[in-house]
Symmetry: C2
Subunit: 446 residues, 2 copies
């Protein structure tokens, strides 16, 4: 397919491996490849998963070559008899397999670097279909490869084959495959904007943003052609604006899309907690770093999950002091200095105790700011007036203590995850209100 | 396809939705359906993901009907114009869509129960292909349905259509679809045994278990036909033994497979940490409950992740006291009473500090048993002799304190996850050694 054709290029995914069909492995590779293609402006129209059987792989490759300009293949590049992808691609292309002397040398060098003798079985990882170009894998033994597969008509389907190990795949996709895609295919990336909201349902979100979007559509043909997609992945709802190309060729620019940030924030206040891919925890730590503030947590129903989310961010030690997980009420008393009376009178899940936990943690940990979480994650534990999902939060800092009560829905895991995100969001909102963060900073980790 | 045919029945999956191809959503539904089918003895041979385009859905349905006895479809049952699955199935079957009066009534009743008027758009959720049988959805608006799709030859493909919302799908699969599959298709469930190992590579694991498996194969034709699969999902490696049906029809029994537990445990000692699906944290809490012991954690590089894993288990409050997350060294000194001298002389990532953390947490939290974790999760922080991935653990209880140092591989997230699992596993090993747990208890949550 020539790059001068007006039809936009499309991709197809082919993931190979019995473990993907038996459900032993969740196919995160397909999501990674889909996301990268989408960002490149190369929409994925079809994905298939097949077993480690050569005939089935060949059939799926031929079907992909018929349908798409690009076929991204992953899995089956290992050293065992189950690994049949190279042979299948060769068969689909009508060529033979050839041992690549350079690849064999690189493979042997990798084993030498591990201090191990290379087993005989691994030699086949240096066999590639005739005419294939290899793709470097600096973090694993399996090199990938690319080959043009004949397609109906005069064209060809660009096949890229990558290993199934997620981190090797991700790196090969970004470092080896994407530059080649950009060079070979006319791509038109689709600008998109993602607004991330906590604590609202899809329909409520739609109601709030529809007037903003209607106004925007009237402003330019590009914005009029914009595609709006709501995606609920509890406890979060995302609003995705995509600069789809309209029937008249109009397409919103990045600047046009980002001009919607402020009105969208206003419409979604206070539920908006982020834009784009930037993780809330990373963003929060960046804001704390700028403000030279250190944070600690006091956790009951989340049992350390809020602190762990902060600790997952590289460089967390710049701002994270630690946490007191007071799962048992005894710990709330002994380490957070919550008063026995308050626990008895109000219960552990109450405003009084949440406030005392945040303030007690601030004293015990010596942090500038502490956030507390105490709630009923379920499935049991509800009391009259306190259903499962009742969660109290408090934030204590030099300016005082603020409290928030929420009723979160879902099973135990969902309530815990939602509580963790809400704790981070409430801290973010406080930093925003105090001028330690800005709306523009909601979209990246800086 | 008649159930008296010798060929075992197979299934095909079809997941519908643009968000699965753009990578916005990871396709966990396919894994859930694959796992359930596998357990039923209905192997999935192919899975496809297509966009919300009627022609593409119809093509994929026809391809599935040609290839498999059962096609499980998910997604596209909502009320919006994007939801086209019912229409596509009708078209593939060559029948019309019909409004189901009973389904409409149930739908209206659901909205009444929510206290909301039913939008006009939702009426289409009561439209099903002529001849379809509906499948109840007690937790969502979208009912599913099943229909026989004509297949080449005399047979038919049993199509089951479910909503894409994961929890609705899961429930409809187990409550509605599986009983119908068992009634309609001759299934022969494949007994399997999963051994879960931490801290060893695939090849090391294979070397240890091969003699055990070779001996087993010599014992019976069923065991000889057993299929062995190694699966690495770092930091874990699983050994999956499946009672595949051999060429002579021999198949290992459940009892034959479970007779391998003790020799497998011996061969894999001390790396084996579990069998089957039972989560280590749940198993650990069950053992603590039986032993009437309470647990606490002292965490540095995992920042609360160990406590959060315990807290994720329903009923954790029976045994979980809490945690002190001492991410900053000041907290190690102030709350865990680690000596300033030891921090200076040995560094925070050292045996001395790990031991002091576990013992200090035991005093501060008043727990029977405390486990500590202190390590270098990366990407930065390594010092001479302490590369990224160096992690020290200690467990303190009434019998004393034991220590373990490990070098874990991978990026920050992998090192943190591995550290969390290792902390739980070391506690499990100690309970095992103390007689508070048995090998048999490694396979379930009891």
């Amino acid at each position: 397919v020539s790059s001068t054709e007006p039809r936009p290029a499309t991709a197809s995914l082919l993931c190979i491996g019995d473990e993907l069909l038996s459900g032993d492995t969740v196919n995160t590779n397909a999501a990674v490849l889909g996301r990268r293609c989408h960002a490149l402006g190369l929409p994925v129209r079809h994905a298939a998963v097949v077993r480690d059987r050569i005939d089935e792989i060949v059939l799926a490759l031929r079907a992909a070559a018929n349908d798409a300009d690009v076929c991204l293949v992953c899995g089956g590049l290992g050293p065992t008899t189950d690994d049949l992808t190279s042979e299948a691609v060769a068969r689909a292309a009508g060529v033979g397999l050839e041992r690549d002397a350079g690849a064999l040398e690189r493979l042997e060098a990798k084993f030498r670097a591990f201090g191990r003798a290379m087993p005989e079985a691994n030699r086949k990882q240096a066999d590639f279909p005739h005419g294939a170009q290899t793709l470097a894998n600096p973090i694993g033994t399996a090199e990938g490869f690319t080959l043009a597969l004949p397609a109906p008509g005069a064209g060809a389907c660009h096949v890229f084959v990558m290993p199934g190990v997620p981190r090797e795949l991700k790196r090969m996709m970004t470092e080896q495959v994407e530059p080649r895609l950009r060079a070979r295919i006319a791509l038109r990336p689709i600008p998109r904007r993602i607004y991330r909201v906590l604590g609202m349902g899809e329909s409520g979100v739609a109601q709030r943003v529809t007037p903003v979007l209607d106004q925007a559509r009237a402003r330019s043909p590009g914005l009029a052609a914009m595609f709006v997609h709501y995606r609920a992945s509890m406890p979060e709802v995302q609003i995705i604006l995509e600069a789809t190309i309209g029937p008249d060729g109009a397409q919103a620019t990045d600047a046009e899309l980002s001009s919607l940030d402020v009105p969208m924030k206003q419409a979604l206040d206070p539920a908006l907690f982020g834009m784009g891919d930037a993780e809330l925890a990373a963003r929060l730590l960046a804001a704390l770093r700028r403000a030279k503030l250190r944070i600690g947590t006091a956790e009951s129903c989340t049992a350390g999950g809020v602190a762990a989310r902060l600790g997952a961010v590289p460089g967390a030690s710049d701002c994270l002091d630690g946490a007191i997980v007071a799962y048992d009420d005894r710990i709330k008393r002994d380490l957070l200095r919550v008063r026995e009376d308050d626990l008895k009178t109000h219960g552990a899940v109450s405003e009084v105790v949440a406030r005392a936990m945040a303030e007690g943690a601030r004293k015990a940990l010596g942090s500038d700011l502490c956030v507390s979480v105490t709630g009923i994650a379920g499935p049991t534990g509800e009391t009259p007036g306190k259903p499962v999902g009742t969660v109290h939060f408090a934030i204590a800092d030099a300016e005082g203590t603020e409290h928030r009560q929420l009723l979160l829905r879902g099973d135990r895991g969902t309530v815990q995850r939602a509580s963790e995100l809400w704790a981070l969001k409430l801290v973010w909102d406080r930093l925003l209100a105090q001028g330690h963060a800005t709306i523009a900073q909601m979209s990246n980790g800086e």
